[in-house]
């Protein structure tokens, strides 16, 4: 069991997810199966290979510093679950 319950809890906390005991048990097993499975990648020798995040060798995609966007407040707030005075609203955050 590479992935312990402790690790599971940390990951869930990072991902802001909570699970029932039943779900946790099932998912913990699946995570371990998954990890065992992806361990098989070790079978491929990748020494000296650069990691490839972007599939094409594009570079330097840059844009001009010109203001093109206008006030879009209505549209952006339209889907807000809660809003007040033109702002999005959340429970009081504590620093």
């Amino acid at each position: 069991m590479i992935i312990t319950e402790e690790t599971f809890q940390s990951m869930a906390a990072l991902a802001k997810l909570t699970f029932s005991e039943k779900e946790k048990k099932q998912l913990l097993k699946e995570l371990n199966d998954f990890v065992n499975y992806i361990e098989t990648m070790k079978g491929l020798n990748t020494d000296g290979v650069a990691p490839m995040g972007n599939v094409h060798a594009i570079e330097n995609v840059l844009r001009k510093d010109v203001v093109l966007n206008k006030n879009d407040k209505e549209a952006l707030l339209k889907n807000a679950p809660e809003q007040k005075n033109g702002s999005f609203m959340v429970p009081k955050t504590v620093d």
Binding site: S10, G53, E59, R63, D65, N69, K84, P91, D95
Partner: protein
Amino acid sequence: MKRYEVVIGLEVHVELSTKTKMFCFCSTEFGGEPNTQCCPVCTGMPGSLPVINKQAVEYAIAAGLALNCDITQQCRFDRKNYFYPDLPKAYQISQLYQPIGRNGGITIDTELGKKTIGIHEIHMEEDAGKLTHIEDGNYTLVDYNRCGIPLIEIVSEPDMHSAKEAIAYLEKLKQILKYLGVSDCKMQEGSLRADINLSVREVGAKELGTRTEMKNMNSFKAIARAIEGEKKRQIALLEKGEPVIRETRRWDDERNASFAMRSKEDARDYRYFPEPDLPPLIISDEWIDDIRNRQPELGDEKMLRFEKEFGIPAYDAKIITSDKYLAQFFEETVAICGRPKEVSNWLMVEVMRLLKEEDIEAEEISFTPVQLAKLIEMIEAGKINRTVAKEVFEHVFKENVDPDEYVIEHGLSMVSDDGVLQSIIEKVIAENRQSVEDYRNGKTKAFGYLVGQTMKETKGKADPKMVNQMIKKILDQ
């Protein structure tokens, strides 16, 4: 009594003065109504994608060069993942693995001479939104206007050992960045923010002590206070044999104390990984050279040039060139009326004093070099004396008046008519027989008194030189 030294590192966030945000075409103007300078990209709407602002990259490279960093020629953005309401995508596009600048440093002046403060790295990132906490409503409001504004984060080496050094470093940083024109560095508007990393250790110890991070200082003075406060706090703990806890603390300037922030998450794992929506930046030698060639004359260079070109003392040159706009003002005024030393005196003394009093920056000065030049010429031409000039200048500074008009309106022209002065002096002497006696008995102070009384009679407008000469003549008879 053990002796401790304090070790300080600073992480400075600087807002770049681009017109648009880092990854979208929204305006960066300060002070708009909430959420009126936003779009799907900077509010993290589903399906939106970032596109890099070229000007922001160039400003970052310029800053890196001016801070003597190596520019990372293969440079990438990474995602820093965490949840907070001011972060709409729940990740910040930043740089971890390949920051744009590394291994730089700047020189500051200390009592013991020049010192280099190392710069570990500088990287680009986007700013977060603004949270407004409403106490009695028990909720928080979120405004994304600021979200996505381009920042550079400048991380120093822990090379500072006092509040003085830290402030000197910050002043120098601000000077350089303002000269470059990449930021207006206004702490009150949040375009410059500093976090303090501080630890203490016994003098001579090899290892660093446990450090704390402090946030929420709104001015350089507050930073100095925070450093002093934290140093004392940590030393007190160590003296008691208690450990310093590695934590983030919030500086409360009003209470002159810091408070541990409730940690949002213990030992945060930000799961940095390269931003897949943005291809890498390949910064060629040509591009770097081009930016380097466009670099304006920076403070240190300008200082030396002023000394040479205008023949003003090093001390003067240093003060005038400490701020880009002050230096510009100097050169423009001298271009009109010459007299560099005179101009320099006005800037160093009166202008600096009034800037402090009004709590504004040099670029906010409302009057022009034309007015200062005029004032200086008026003194030279004997139209007003220095005392009056100072008074007039205050109005020029605060109300942007024309000195000529003001003097005429308020009847402040210098009184230098022989006849007028003669009769006033005679009157003063006649009314102050005792002082004349005292002077003749060797009390030189009495002379000054008589001059003073004469000036008073003329409401300060008399030509002091003439007054001195004429009184002396009469008394020495």
